[in-house]
Amino acid sequence: MTENMESYPLSLEGDGIPMVRFQNVTKRYGSLVVLNQLDIDVSAGEMVTIIGPSGSGKTTVLRMLMTLETIDDGVIYVEGEPLTHMERNGRLVPASSAHLRRMRSKIGMCFQHFNLFPHMTALGNCMEGPVQVLGLSRKEAEERSLELLDMVGMIEKRDQHPSRLSGGQQQRVAIARALAMRPKVMLFDEVTSALDPEVISEVTSVIKHLVDTHNLTMLMVTHQMGFAKEISDRVCFFFDGAIEEQGAPTKLFENPERERTQQFLNAVLHAN
């Protein structure tokens, strides 16, 4: 931390506090600045999609929120409470591992390469967190997991190991696994990028179903522009570690204001 922490509130107060707030967040790898003084709020129940060229810091935003990456400056708040920091003697200090553990329980994440546990079945993958972390009985965890596997259309494959599942099937199990922890915020990090084109829709339709039926807060990094336009409440275009432009999907996709946004969308849409 290179700056004065007193400019950051110990917690966010008042009506309509955001589910997630990045305040002045900077991430560097050596001399490379990946995210530069990022400010972004995500409201409860909002679906925010992040698009942008590779290397623009999109994925880093999700990884910092999942606490897979530390931050170099700024504070991230979840439900008004600091995630990356905690209060001690009236000031913010870097979060302890106990604080991170408590805050992390609010967040779930799906990865580009699914990262299912290969030595467990689909059902075992979903039950692992509820049993080991939440302390549910095996019976309760199984009920919860079966319900979710049913929702993602994977109930018949519950006893299969990941090596026997297609990419799309693995990703659907991964979504069920993350949801079994009952997170308040779900992060989707390029969840369709590793999939064959013909199975992308089986994953996007699950996410669409989630948006329609659950009041989850979601952040998604994707290259599927059509999908982003269809389901997002807001789209953020990232460029060089900062938000270049953001807005409602119709606005951003049909009427982008910034030249870089136009260039990026032109390049992506022509490539498709």
């Binding site: 992390r104 990262n115 546990f117 290969p118 080991q132 990941p162």
Partner: protein, 221 residues
């Protein structure tokens, strides 16, 4: 004396020696596995003290001769008040020596588990010890089985050195037979065949079976 007559006269002693060798082998393997897991994981610990202890163990047992270590444990430790009977000193020396190589296998295998697995476990908010026990080690185990197959054969062959502190294993018996009869070709020839048969027809298939079993448990056939 024909070879059949040789076996008739000395077969009993060869079998007794082989049984002791097999005991030494199993106990040394057990010591090696426990030491490898303990020090291999300590080598990855966050605490610099734990890491330093592990490095010291690995450096000492890997960097010096097994025979010298065996003599140390049997002849020198008593000078410090730790007296072990020869049987215990034997498998302990072989096990600790091979455990140092095993510790590096454990460490390498843990580090070879894909980063995404660590991240997925963290995203599920698993505590570090649960993550290691439930997610990382089961996968590391599968990764390290093939190199452990080699190491376990090394352990078997390493046990031959315990004859030098007079543990009555196979090597000890054939040396005795050789000294009293001068039937060197028969004595040492038989020993070589017995070591080879144990390694080739018991240890190797056993490890292969374990690999198949573990792969089946993760859905690969």
């Amino acid at each position: 004396m024909t070879y059949i007559e040789f076996l008739d006269v000395y077969g009993g002693r060869l079998i007794d020696g082989t049984i002791v060798t097999i005991y030494q082998f199993f106990l040394a393997t057990f010591v090696a596995v426990v030491a490898a897991l303990t020090f291999g994981l300590m080598r990855l610990a966050r605490s610099p003290v734990l890491r330093a202890v592990a490095v010291a163990y690995i450096e000492f047992f890997r960097g010096t001769s097994l025979l010298v270590q065996l003599f140390w444990i049997f002849f020198v430790l008593p000078l410090f008040g730790i007296t072990l009977d020869k049987f215990t000193a034997g498998f302990l020396a072989v096990g600790l020596n091979m455990g140092a190589y095993g510790a590096e296998l454990v460490r390498g295998a843990v580090l070879a588990v894909p980063k995404g697995q660590w991240e997925a476990a963290l995203a599920l908010n698993m505590a570090p010890h649960n993550r290691m026990r439930r997610i990382i080690l089961p996968q590391a185990f599968i990764i390290m089985l093939p190199p452990w197959g080699n190491l376990i054969i090394e352990i078997l062959k390493g046990t031959a050195l315990v004859a030098l502190i007079a543990v009555a294993d196979l090597m000890f018996e054939v040396r005795q037979i050789n000294i009293t009869t001068f039937l060197s070709a028969e004595a040492f020839g038989t020993a070589i065949v017995i070591y080879y048969v144990i390694a080739r027809f018991f240890v190797t298939p056993g490890m292969r079976g374990l690999e198949r079993l573990m792969n089946r448990r993760i859905g690969k056939v």
